[in-house]
Symmetry: C2
Subunit: 454 residues, 2 copies
């Protein structure tokens, strides 16, 4: 199998491209099928519609299934529409169930049903079961292609069974052992099978305490379990412990990546728009609502400043420190937000340490606030003709603001998470705006009360 | 093996705790060793020093090696200092080489040498080789525990070899095939071995084009390759293609997690301080330099506003819109920053699309800017007694500022990445402050030039 890298990518892409253009089917097949499926996807996606259609002619539905599985979900639908019905139903028959489920779940119900009706009955039935699961649960991401073995078999018989069933299973390194009711009773790794005496029965070699996940478990939790226990796959069971499917480590890496991207999106209010391949217009359309909403929220900030217009008219220089106080509050708040979001993602923030975390963030805020107050109170008089009073007002405001904003930054995502609300509200810019308002209220209140001495 | 979850965690922890306190060694061993190593770590880390020391007495160095491997690198050093020398060298002999390397690389050179001198000579030699690699390269994270097989063997013989060597190998699902010079010539999965006829020789079943990585490759690139090709492990080779070691998927998940945490830290200027378990004081110490540095940078912003004091004195209401313009610029900049940082992490931003990305961000900024200008110019007069001129000044400033800040947000991390500079400079708050300064200059310049009509 050839892996494309910086050195040979251009060469391979050009050769495949030329073979397609000159309608040299055999040459195309020879080079293209020699590539890793993941590289096949890269090359395929670089073709125009005309040449893509030639691919469908040159590749069997089973061969193209490997390519289709690797295509980004956003592009799959477009490609699917280029395929004729017979070709695509044959292709779906050759894909892993979990990949078909992921694709069908983005389609309209009617289109999905239409596809299912044309597929092999047994496979369609399995897929219908998986489609019924709530999105982002273990059930919705599991695959049905796994090997389950009976506890009473001998090691040699199981190895023989694997020889037959292996080509269809997504992973055979873990083999799940079930009793006559289909309940999960143990796990035996291929490694254990290999090192075991050939005549030993499975129940003597298997590990009986197998780590499994509930069909309703959130996919992020599933990912954390696979990560924590260094598993290659984890079995999914029903409430009565019947083995339903497996989730594999390669899917988990993608889930962790997606959840991370979501977290990034939240922190920066760019949710759904972090893909660099989006057009400027699409990206703008997704990012714009945030910017405009936050701008309108900024009208409140403007209102706060406006209400202190009198103070400001008397001491115009107060305006100069507005950005500094706002930015400091925003920065501390974003730091706390990151700590909280990361903690939630990595599972290190649990229910029982909610208050501990809040206390810690408050203490952190106070310490940072004290140090910052000291620094700024000493530095301002140097630049502003020894204006100690202004320096003191700014300093005290910084202390109060930073203490509060460290807590706001951490508490908002934690509460959102607890109440299971839309975490978008916990976005960084939103928290920054809240902290701005608090900070400006503190600053101008202090300034106004000390107006006579300023 | 028992897996701890919300329901049984407390029970197990208490039982183990009591067994230790009552010095019931057998009871402790029975329950503790039944736990998954990952849960053993959780329980162990919840003990105080007194009880931890009892653990070292009750567990053999080989048993404790499994626990030590799972402890966070920040805590490992503290625990190590509690162990006596004979116990710890025996423990290191029982750990996977890559885990020993990770631990030794955080110690002072002299301490590391001292440990190596007490270890088994063969293992110490392997570790010394790994330690010599630059940090965060494939060589520095690979493990030496893998099975390599000769191309001329029969499948049945290899399965027999695996029976013997498997317990020592970190992963046996991929077996790397080498020629007489130790050069990597192919790979054969355990799955292929199992489904192959017993008498077939390895070179007839193996895949000859194996995906491998160079010993000097950056660990993040290694992770992306394992992720892209859905591998369980990847072999590391020297310049002349000699097989040196392997990197496994479980390490890769952790690497991706670490790199992501680094990225988060960059975006929020909380680098190294995203761990929720840090004390408030330690967290404050790590976050403070950023806040103070950015606050001093804020003095420039104050200077910009100060230099327009005259304009501000005449039209005090201008101050009210300062936060809104700053925040909008900051928000758009942070969005672009996220897109760029994510693109770099996921490998979707490559050298050749640098300019395409900049152009796209600029277009996005202009579109967002136009829409925002329209919205704000229409809304301000409603709240500010039909003050159309102020509305227009704010609107035009928003358009100019957003167009510029979308580019700043994307260009800074891309340049940093290209010049291989410290990416900390690309932190979100830093970019926000730059955008503030640009935004305020634009706003007050426009306002000053239109002063007569305001």
């Amino acid at each position: 199998m050839v892996k494309l890298d910086e050195n040979n990518r251009k060469h391979y892409t050009t050769t495949i491209f030329k073979a397609l253009q000159k309608e040299k089917m055999n040459e195309f097949r020879e080079i293209f099928l020699d590539l890793h499926p993941s590289d096949q996807v890269d090359v395929f996606m670089s073709l125009d519609e005309h040449l893509r259609k030639r691919c469908y002619k040159y590749l069997s539905p089973a061969e193209f299934a490997m390519v289709f599985e690797g295509i980004d979900i956003n592009d799959q639908q477009r490609i699917f529409e280029e395929l004729d019905e017979i070709y695509s139903s044959d292709m779906f028959n050759n894909m892993f169930t979990d990949d078909v489920v992921t694709f069908l779940s983005i389609l309209e119900h009617q289109t999905a049903e239409h596809i299912l009706n044309r597929m092999e009955r047994e496979k369609a039935k399995e897929i219908r079961i998986l489609l019924a699961y709530t999105e982002e649960t273990a059930g919705s991401i599991m695959t049905k292609e796994f090997v389950s073995i009976s506890a009473t078999r001998k090691a040699s018989v199981v190895i023989e069974q694997l020889r037959t069933e292996a080509p269809d299973a997504e992973i055979i390194y873990y083999n799940y052992v079930v009793n006559e009711k289909g309940q999960l009773v143990g796990v035996i790794s291929l490694r254990d099978l290999i090192v075991a005496p050939l005549n030993e029965t499975v129940d003597n070699i298997m590990s009986t305490r197998v780590i499994s996940v509930d069909e309703d478990m959130d996919q992020e939790e599933v990912a954390l379990i696979i990560q924590k226990y260094d598993l290659l796959a984890v079995p999914v069971v029903s409430k009565d412990n019947r083995l339903l499917g497996i989730v594999t480590v390669d899917d988990v890496i993608d889930i962790l990546e997606d959840e991370t991207t979501e977290d990034f999106g939240e922190i920066s209010a760019a949710k759904g728009a972090t893909d660099v391949n989006l057009s400027a217009f699409t990206a703008a359309k997704m990012r714009l609502p945030w910017i405009v909403a936050l701008m309108f929220l900024g009208l409140i900030t403007a209102g706060v400043i406006g209400s202190f217009e009198e103070t400001l008219e008397k001491v115009v220089i107060l305006a100069a420190f507005v950005p500094m106080i706002m930015d400091s509050a925003g920065n501390v708040g974003t730091q706390s937000l990151t700590v909280a979001v990361r903690g939630l993602a990595l599972g290190t923030v649990e229910k029982d340490n909610f208050w501990r975390m809040i206390r810690r963030e408050f203490s952190t805020g106070v310490i940072i606030g004290l140090a910052s107050m000291l620094a700024i109170t000493l530095i301002i008089p140097i630049f502003y003709q020894g204006n100690w009073m202004i320096a003191l007002v700014v300093g005290v405001s910084i202390l109060c603001t930073l203490s509060v904003s460290a807590v706001t930054g951490a508490v908002v995502p934690l509460i959102i998470n607890r109440l299971k609300l839309d975490p978008a509200v916990a976005s960084g810019p939103f928290i920054t705006t809240i902290n701005d308002i608090i900070g400006l209220l503190i600053y101008f209140s202090i300034a106004t009360s000390l107006l006579d001495v300023l």
